[in-house]
Structures are given as structure tokens and as C-alpha cells.
């Protein structure tokens, strides 16, 4: 990560008000919301939004990944799990409700790393949503030779599967075996005899660790999207760091800021 990387996004971050276009629960506790916002114009796959609860009791924003951007209509889509009072509040937002958000934050997935390659997009649980925008960008402007999505779910509520199929072939793994391969995303890769030259992934830490090991064994690059409890979302508070293998160019210690230096990292650069 070169010094001065933070300048790349200069002037694109802002706190703004969006308007809810529609919202629906698409699986148990998983909500799908479209918002009208000018941030849609510049959003990139793998970036995230900080959304502020308005209840007055809680102050800090909730970092939520961008699931899809519709530039023509100026809309952003998030698909999120209700995990606490903040996300519970968001889930009750009706059409036309104003949403306070800060965006677009973080660096997205590097499309150029997929050029000419067979690529796996691996999403686990609530890590699946950012794979949709990534699949879309790779299909529309990327130069990947081939893109396969491997999505890991708890059960047969296969949220976003049909959306993903618009852009790539989708393979499914479920914990309970009720759809696709019973087991993990790596079990699905093995069962279907799939191979790739690069991996881009988002999901729970055990999955990301397994993806990192898998990529190392195969000698291929893996880009993984990390999460951590955040406060500022813009790189100032140093709350959301992850351990890095080398000394980070900004911090000069073995910590990188997930919000600003990530959330997408080359797996071999981070100590997870």
C-alpha cells in the first residue's frame, strides 16, 4: 500500500441524506433496501457505507457493504443482517424515509487483478451481497476470462442467487445441505471440480482463513474483504485495524485501517 493512497479517493467521501426506495426481508433477518443517493454514481464493488441510526441513543454509524449500484437511476442497494439495535432500526424504514449515510468508503475490489483470469467470487452469508456488484462490474467492464460465484448459505433461503445468475454461473453450498453442496464454499469448489487463477471473497473470518489457505496452496492471488467494529469510518480513529504481515505504509506498525486501507486486502498481506 503506497503512501498517499488516501488521496486517491479525495473529495468523493461525504455525509449525505438518501431516500428509501424500497425494502423487503429476503431471508430470516436479512433485509434488502434500495436507496436514492448521488453516491450511486461513484460507488465501486467492495466499498461500503456508514449508515447512522437516528434513535438518539446510539451514535456510531453501521458499516454496511454496497450490494449493487444503479448509476442510471441513482440508487444504491444494501443487503444486511439485523444484528443489533441499529440494523433493527434500518429494517423498519419505509419508502421515502430519509437515511443518514456517509460514503463511499474504502477501496473496492481491484477489477484489474481479474484481467485475463478465471476468477472465483466467494461469498459467505452476509458476505454475499458485495459479490453482486463485483460480478456486475466484472461482467460489464472487467476483462476476466471467466467468473464463477460460489455462495455459502446457512440453508435453502438462497438470497441474491438469482441476481448473481444475471452475471455469472453460481455454485451453492449450504450448512444444512438443503441446497447445493452440503458444507462450505470450498466443499462446493471441490465437488464441482472448479479451478481459478484468482479469488475475491467476503464472508465470516473462518471462511476467509480457509480461502487464504486455499489460495496459498494453489499459488493464486486472493483478495479478501474484512470487517471490524468501526467508529469514524474514514481512517482517523484507528478503531478498525487488522494485523498486517509487513509494516503498513500509513501506520508504520503492523496494523492497517480496514475502513481506509481496506476493506479489501490481498490475503497474503494480512495476518488473519
Amino acid at each position: 500500500m503506497p503512501d498517499g493512497k488516501e488521496w486517491k479517493m479525495m473529495g468523493q467521501k461525504k455525509k449525505t441524506k438518501a431516500k428509501v426506495v424500497c425494502q423487503a426481508e429476503i431471508a430470516d433477518g436479512i433485509f434488502d433496501m434500495w436507496m436514492e443517493t448521488e453516491l450511486a454514481q461513484t460507488a465501486r464493488a467492495g466499498q461500503f457505507l456508514c449508515i447512522y441510526p437516528q434513535n438518539g441513543k446510539t451514535l456510531l454509524p453501521r458499516p454496511i457493504s454496497i450490494c449493487e449500484a444503479d448509476k442510471e437511476q441513482g440508487r444504491l442497494r444494501i443487503v444486511y443482517r439485523v444484528a443489533g439495535q441499529g440494523t433493527a432500526e434500518f429494517s423498519r424504514y419505509h419508502v421515502n424515509r430519509t437515511v443518514d449515510l456517509l460514503g463511499n468508503l474504502g477501496n473496492g475490489f481491484p477489477l484489474e487483478a481479474a484481467a485475463g483470469k478465471k476468477v472465483f467470487l466467494i461469498g459467505g452469508g452476509i458476505g454475499i451481497p458485495p459479490m453482486l456488484q463485483l460480478a456486475k462490474e466484472l461482467a460489464q467492464e472487467g476483462e476476466a476470462a471467466n467468473v464463477s460465484v460460489i455462495a455459502g448459505y446457512r440453508d435453502c433461503r438462497l438470497f441474491l442467487k438469482e441476481d448473481l445468475e444475471r452475471y455469472a454461473k453460481v455454485y451453492v453450498a449450504t450448512e444444512d445441505g438443503s441446497a447445493g453442496t452440503k458444507g462450505t464454499v470450498l466443499d462446493a469448489i471441490a465437488e464441482n471440480g472448479l479451478e481459478a487463477d484468482a479469488v475475491m471473497a467476503c464472508g465470516p473470518m473462518p471462511m476467509l482463513r480457509a480461502v487464504k489457505r486455499y489460495a496459498k496452496e494453489k499459488g493464486i492471488e486472493a483478495y479478501i474483504s474484512l470487517e471490524e467494529r468501526m467508529a469514524c469510518g474514514v481512517g482517523a480513529c484507528l478503531g478498525c485495524v487488522c494485523k498486517t504481515v509487513g509494516k503498513d505504509a500509513h501506520s508504520h506498525v503492523h496494523n492497517a485501517r480496514i475502513c481506509t486501507d481496506g476493506p479489501v486486502f490481498l490475503a497474503e498481506d494480512v495476518d488473519i
Binding site: 467494529r229 468501526m230 467508529a231 508504520h252
Partner: protein, 303 residues
Amino acid sequence: MNTKVSIAGVEFKNPVMTASGTFGSGMEYSEFVDLNRLGAVVTKGVANVPWEGNPTPRVAETYGGMLNAIGLQNPGIDVLLERDLPFLEQYDTRVIVNVCGKTVGDYLETVERLGDTKADMLEINVSCPNVKEGAIAFGQKADSLYEITAAVKKKAKQPIIMKLSPNVTDITEMARAAEAAGADALSMINTLTGMKIDVHKRKFVLANRTGGLSGPAVKPVAVRMVYQTAQAVKIPIIGMGGIANAEDALEFLLAGATAVAVGAMNFVNPYTTVEVVEGLEEYMERYGVEDIRSLIGGVEEVK
């Protein structure tokens, strides 16, 4: 209308500053805020060498506030001198460098390195509750505070601000010790030590178990301590603790603070600092206040 205030001979265009640790070195928030509008930028604490800080999770949300246990992660004085100070020098604002250390020697080394820089003042962090060595160890006993203040004052080329901890029995005793040792100003309050437990996992939310509480939840405590301290010492006070808007800032000024700093609320609204600057001007216009200095300690005492 005069919004200028002066602390230890340093003039600030207005009394609004950033609280150390909440604003990086200004670079991150310069995307949101015109730093030229601020009275001063107070940088994240810096030590003589880089510090890794604490494990994650480092932050947690609480009712009306937040806990942090960053552990003073910082890139060290070399990087501050090479990268952060030159960045801040581009702006027409005062620069206050916050200094932390594990030993008195650490503090002195950093203070000495800052001597020939354009930093306008130094803020000495003797009140971070999240590191095992140094910091708060110097800020909870009056004699230790006296010693480190006197040692730093002897070495420093800039005026020094001692940042006080609220985690003491009597903050005025600490304030008097710092003043007696030669401190040019005080800043207060640092965070209040707190704890949060996740009842579902039955675990501490913060990896460090305890963290510093900040945000609007602490404001009444901070205002009270600023008021008490202003009665006890003659040196100026920079007041902070949960300031979210101009009204909050005015409470601190009326309680006796010469300047104020915005901390955790930067995370909630990145434009807070400038909104406070504008709100203070509106207040002055509304009430016909010609000079902001007339508000300092201006709360009416019952006779």
C-alpha cells in the same frame, strides 16, 4: 465581533479545536472540513517510537457515547515530522501536537524533537486510560503529575498543555499540581474509564476489557470539572467532552474554558467542528456579544 482567544501567548482565530485522537492528523477530515476554519488542529498522540496499540475490538458503542481502547497506536515522531506537520502547515490554523510516552524519558525525547518545528503548542497526554505503561500513570497522582510537568516544561520550546484525566478523586488537586509545575494550560477531560459486556457471548466487548468513555454521555461531568478547575487555577483551560454543537461548546466557555475541542462527535458528524464555529458566531450575533472572551467563565453566580 471578536472570536479570537489567546492561550499562553498563542492566538487562535476562534476557540474551536479538535480533540486528540479523534481527528488523526487532520488529513482524513480535511476531505469534509476546511481546516482553515478551525482554531487549531490537535494531533493524535505521538511517541518517540511507533506504537502498535491494542488488539481489536478497540471500540464499542454505549448509550449516548462510545468506549475506545485504541492504546495510542501511532507511527512515531519521525513520521509526524516528515508527513503530518508539513501537511498541517499548508493550513492557516494552529497546530497542537499531543505527546504520549511510557517513561518520562520518552516524553522528553519527543518534546525535544518538536522543539524546532512549527507546532504552536504541545499537549502532554498524562491521562490515556488504555495503556499499561506511562500516560495515565503520570496523571492520577499529584506528585507524579508535578514531576512530569516540570520536566517537560524545562525541555519544551513551546507552551505546554497538560491533558488531565477525570479518573481521579479531585481534579482540582491535579490541576493545581500541573499549574504549580509550570503548565501553561490544561485540557480536560480525557475519557472516563468504562466497560461493556456482551451478555449473549458473556465476554468483554473490548479486547482491552476497559476503555475510555466519550461522547455526549460524559458532557455534564466534563462541564462540572471544567467549572471546578476554573475556580482553582489561573491558567487557561481547553474544555472537551461530548461537544456536539455550539450550545455544548458555550456551556464549556461559560463554565470557564478559554477554548473547546470536538472529539467523538467528529465520528458521528464529520462537519461538527465547523458547525460549532458557525454556531458560536450566530450566538454572538443573537445576543450582541462583541468579544467571545466575555463569555469565558460567564455563568452567573448566585450572590
